[in-house]
Symmetry: C2
Subunit: 211 residues, 2 copies
Amino acid sequence: MVVGVDDMAADGAARLPAASRPGGRTARVRAAALRATEDALIEVGLARLDLADIARRAGIGKTTVYRRWRTVPALIADLLADMAEQSSPRSDTGSLAGDLLANAHLVQRTLTDARQGALFRAILAAALTDTDTAEALRRFYEARISEWEPCVYAAVERGELPAGTDAREVIRAVSAPLYHRLLTGEDIDPTHAEHAAATATAAARAGAYRP
Amino acid sequence: MVVGVDDMAADGAARLPAASRPGGRTARVRAAALRATEDALIEVGLARLDLADIARRAGIGKTTVYRRWRTVPALIADLLADMAEQSSPRSDTGSLAGDLLANAHLVQRTLTDARQGALFRAILAAALTDTDTAEALRRFYEARISEWEPCVYAAVERGELPAGTDAREVIRAVSAPLYHRLLTGEDIDPTHAEHAAATATAAARAGAYRP
């Protein structure tokens, strides 16, 4: 059962003025719309997604959805911005191997989680054939790579890696084989995450990510 | 303008008995249907692809298409089998770095070619949300990786790489960052191919692809 935001507003939530609630009505409308967008992406894919369906699923007035997001790509872009904000912060285990392993496990868990995995597959599929979604997804990965880059800077500081190592390329190198397995229809289990992290660590130590 | 197979059969091709032509009518029907499938995938994507549209685009009778392929996933699987057969053979440059560079350039050119790139994006998008297409695509990459594996065996023979190096993982490591760039909406130019090949070579030499 989907609890609509308008239903919530009709009971408890309506008793407090919006400004006094952490994440008031506006935040709850957004959360409901983004959740509905995830559901719709997983169930029907981008090609058949429309704002009226999102409004219905979220229990929000159509006018609210049209006024706030205007287009489906804008709604997907907002979803990806929210996903970037909600994503786990980077690890700081004290070693490059440990940090990259934590990153690899995070990617592996995300791509194989029943809901998150289906959502990522739907968004990746959409981005492959829609340039607005591709741009929103590019910004999402930009944010995620920036979050994890400091692991590489710290490793250079500790003398684990050669100076001039390209931090973004090291972080990409952890994800790349896992996403490649996703694309080529192979399983992605924790041993693949361990292998991806170990390979990126070994390659970085060998100086493979200097320009 | 699309020249249909039935048009071709109506003129020159009809003058020779099918058995005497290399790739007779059956082969030409298949080629036209697969070409039409590529066009349809690029233009409308898997979700809106249907066999009647393929028949119309290819200038083949609907009955022929339905009898031969029966379902859209079977047609896509046949397209991927054909793509695997038609793909370039592996390079043999005499060094691992040279072979992996040739592989990386091939992947880069394919993913950025106007038609091939659009076709791959459409097929990858379809595979992300359709399990039959995913399985057909897995077999395609299986064939492509098998084609290039001997480059790694030869490098081990020459003493360039440690014994026990996982050949499939080395070949995957060349493609993975390029496909990751495709997914994350980044450019893929020849310098990225060079970097992917150099990184995989350095990592393999450093022993990163031993179990």
